[in-house]
């Protein structure tokens, strides 16, 4: 066994840290905080120039063609600094589905534009009445000759206000069993009949609800087979199966350790005990995530290693951010805009941010069910 990631990974990490120190200025942080939008075109441009934007994509498709370990290191560092990546990483996830299931035109026009960060795609899976039960989508797509008429609404369509396309899951056949009557589309967000309404969240992130009223799209907007949307969707969600929030716990611990050193509280044994607990959560969250990467590197098929990494990291972040908030005391209340805020309000923010991590990309309950059934062999 060897727990080193290797010299390449170490120098890549150092290069990323240096770049992020320089690129994520106080002005950028301020703008991101005020807007609640995790996107910054200049910042993304810098990543593209350095080959860190689509590191896992093969070179012929416009990526950097890096190995899984390098890709992991890049995301560990970008996420540790909460770099504004959300709009573009979702777009890349959609582009990946387009490469596999999209039309020639989508592959020719939209995929390269996503890889240049000129096109933003957003997810349209969740609905007001269908969250974890994503296959229960009720947004209707009715065929009419060479066109489809779409009616319904999509929830948590983050970045739809600045996006170009929505990757849409619809009910095309209400007579089939629920997983079999679904079809996916890529619909331009400036299409007549589409209305984007802001939804503000506790983390400060702005998301949306998108309404579709008699939206008429050509059949060429369809992704994959008619009524074959479920297999398109599950392939797209595979990436999310390895979501890990380990880098956020790393950041949390760094901030609280810095606070404890600045204030002298670091010498308190009770403080040390609680910092030690978070240090264990950091280590375990990183290891569970790195195990997935190692398996990918070795070509070993993963079973529930991804759900374990996601479950442990998000639940630990939620628990640890609350405990660190409690540890700091009343000053932990102060938010980012207050110049007196502890560590720029990062701990208070992290506690709010953590709530979402146990919900999106598959709730903790979905992850536990997968681990219980596929991992432990417990009955359905």
């Amino acid at each position: 066994m060897d727990f080193r990631l290797g010299d390449n990974a170490d120098s890549l990490r150092a290069a990323l840290r240096a770049y992020l120190d320089e690129a994520l200025t106080d002005e950028v942080e301020e703008r991101l905080y005020r807007s609640g939008v995790s996107h910054d075109a200049d910042f993304i441009g810098g990543l593209i120039d350095r080959g860190w934007f689509a590191p896992a994509w093969s070179e012929d498709l416009g990526g950097a063609g890096l190995d899984p370990t390098s890709v992991m290191v890049i995301f560990e560092e970008l996420n540790r600094r909460e770099a504004p990546m959300y709009a573009t990483s979702v777009s890349l996830m959609v582009a990946k589905a387009l490469v596999k299931f999209g039309t020639d035109e989508m592959r020719r026009e939209i995929v390269p534009a996503v890889l240049r960060a000129e096109t933003i795609c957003v997810l349209g899976f969740t609905e007001p009445e269908a969250g974890s039960d994503v296959a229960n989508a009720q947004t209707r797509a009715v065929r009419d000759g060479d066109e489809w008429m779409i009616n319904g609404s999509k929830m948590f369509t983050t970045n739809a206000q600045l996006g170009d396309y929505i990757y849409l899951l619809t009910r095309s056949n209400p007579d089939e069993r629920k997983h079999r009557g679904l079809t996916t589309f890529l619909v331009p967000l400036d299409h007549p009949g589409i209305e984007v309404q802001a939804v503000h969240t506790i983390s400060g992130e702005r998301t949306n609800i998108v309404y579709f009223n008699d939206v008429r799209v050509p059949d060429s907007a369809r992704i994959g087979d008619v009524d074959g949307g479920w297999s398109v969707l599950t392939a797209s969600l595979m990436d999310e199966q390895m979501a890990s929030f380990a880098p956020w716990i790393v950041r949390l611990l760094e901030e609280v350790e810095a606070w404890a050193a600045e204030t002298g509280r670091i010498d308190d044994p009770g403080v040390r005990e609680r910092l030690g607990r978070v240090a264990a959560q950091v280590e375990v969250a990183l290891l569970l995530r790195r195990r997935c990467t190692w398996m990918d590197e070795e070509g070993i098929t993963r079973n529930v290693e991804g759900p374990m990494a996601k479950l442990f990291s998000s639940e630990s972040l939620t628990q640890a951010s609350q405990d660190m908030f409690d540890l700091i005391g009343p000053d932990a209340l102060r938010s980012y805009p207050d110049p007196e805020a502890v560590r720029g309000g990062r701990i208070e923010y992290m506690m709010r941010f953590a709530l979402g991590t146990t919900i999106y990309a598959g709730t903790s309950e979905i992850q536990r069910t997968q681990i219980a059934q596929r991992g432990l062999g417990l009955p359905r």
Binding site: M1, D2, F3, R4, L5, G6, T69, E257, I266, D267, P269, R272, E273, R274, L275, G276, R277, A279, A280, E283, V284, A285, L287, L288, R290, R291, T293, W294, E297, E298, V304, E305, P307, M308, L311, F312, E315, E365, Q367, R368, T369, I371, A372, Q373, G375, L376, G377, L378, P379, R380
Partner: protein
């Protein structure tokens, strides 16, 4: 990164898995509860060279890595084996580090030595693991590491059916003093914490399996109870925690073998997190047995008791977290 065991390590695990399956099944564990020690099991372990493997080649041993020892400890824990493997290995390694001629007696099997995890206070080292079945105990008395012969009669009944004893430390032989003594003691403690973590992870993993097996078979309200999320979801949390704890313990063992500057921190983290993971898993598994889990007849109680008792001879998870933080941030 490489998480694969070597071919030799696979063989090592297989050898100990078969040994424990044969010589430490649950009825043998029960039979040994009164004294906390199964001499036949120990002689089998000795036959496989558990002391020799823990000692470097230049001191007459086989020079196994800390990761090798952790793999063996994990199998030990899976069977809640009634033999003081870890204490004897750690004590022997400390004697080797002290370059003590007493190591020869241990390697030859003439003397059995354990180690006190806390310094002696007022002439007594309390609750020393494996002491009631040892000839000698290594104890830190003030600033001196002493080898103290164990007198009979100080063993006591305990939660984990362990061979514990309070050891009077007057009149021991001083092997080393001063900073060296303290350093050897702290290193021995790191090793004990790490190997105990590995044993607890094996224990926790087996406890979880026992609970899962029961939940798949037991029918209530017309269905297997394992289909209820109120049961299966806590099991999933334990599965993730134990996988993480295992990776952490292996990383700590690797850090010791590579002599990295995080070895002490990682050993203490592995102990604290491994303890919590094992006791959560054993609690959840015992609980899903319903009233049966409360009965001595069912094996799960063997695991629940040891998940709490084995680590407690040194300390609780908060003690491990503080030790890790001290290693990370320097002594106060």
């Amino acid at each position: 990164m490489d998480l694969r065991l070597s071919a030799e390590q696979d063989q090592l695990v297989d050898a100990f898995r078969s040994l424990y399956a044969k010589h430490a099944p649950p009825d043998r564990v029960r039979d040994a509860e009164l004294v906390g020690h199964d001499p036949e099991l120990w002689s089998q372990l000795q036959g496989l060279g558990v002391i020799e493997m823990a000692i470097d080649e230049d001191r007459g041993g086989w020079g196994a890595s800390m990761l090798d020892l952790a793999l063996v400890a994990e199998q030990h824990g899976r069977h809640v084996a009634p033999a003081p493997l870890i204490e004897r290995q750690v004590a022997a390694r400390a004697l080797a580090r002290l370059e003590s001629p007493r190591l020869d007696d241990v390697l030859s099997g003439d003397r059995v030595t354990s180690i006190a995890l806390h310094p002696s206070v007022d002439g007594v080292a309390p609750a020393v693991p494996a002491a009631s079945v040892a000839d000698d105990v290594l104890v830190l008395v003030g600033d001196a590491l002493c080898l103290v012969p164990v007198s009979a009669g100080s063993a006591f009944e305990n939660l984990g059916s362990m061979p514990l004893a309070d050891v009077g430390t007057d009149g021991g032989e001083v092997l080393e003093g001063g900073a060296v003594a303290r350093q050897v003691f702290e290193t021995a403690l790191d090793e004990w914490l790490l190997l105990t973590a590995a044993a607890l992870i094996g224990l926790g993993a087996r406890a979880l399996e026992i609970g899962v097996e029961y939940a798949r078979e037991r029918i209530a309200f017309g269905v297997p109870i394992g289909s209820f999320q109120a049961l299966s979801h806590p099991f999933a949390d334990s599965a993730a925690a134990l996988d993480g704890a295992r990776l952490l313990a292996y990383e700590a063992a690797w850090a010791v073998d590579e002599d990295t500057d995080r070895a002490r921190e990682l050993a203490a983290l592995a102990f604290a997190f491994g303890s919590e993971s094992a006791r959560d898993a054993s609690y959840r598994s015992l609980h899903v047995h319903g009233g049966y889990g409360f009965m001595l007849e069912y094996d799960i109680q063997l695991y629940w008791r040891r998940a709490r008792a084995w680590p407690a001879v040194w300390g609780a998870p908060p003690d491990g977290y503080r030790r890790a933080a001290d290693a990370r941030h320097g002594r106060r």
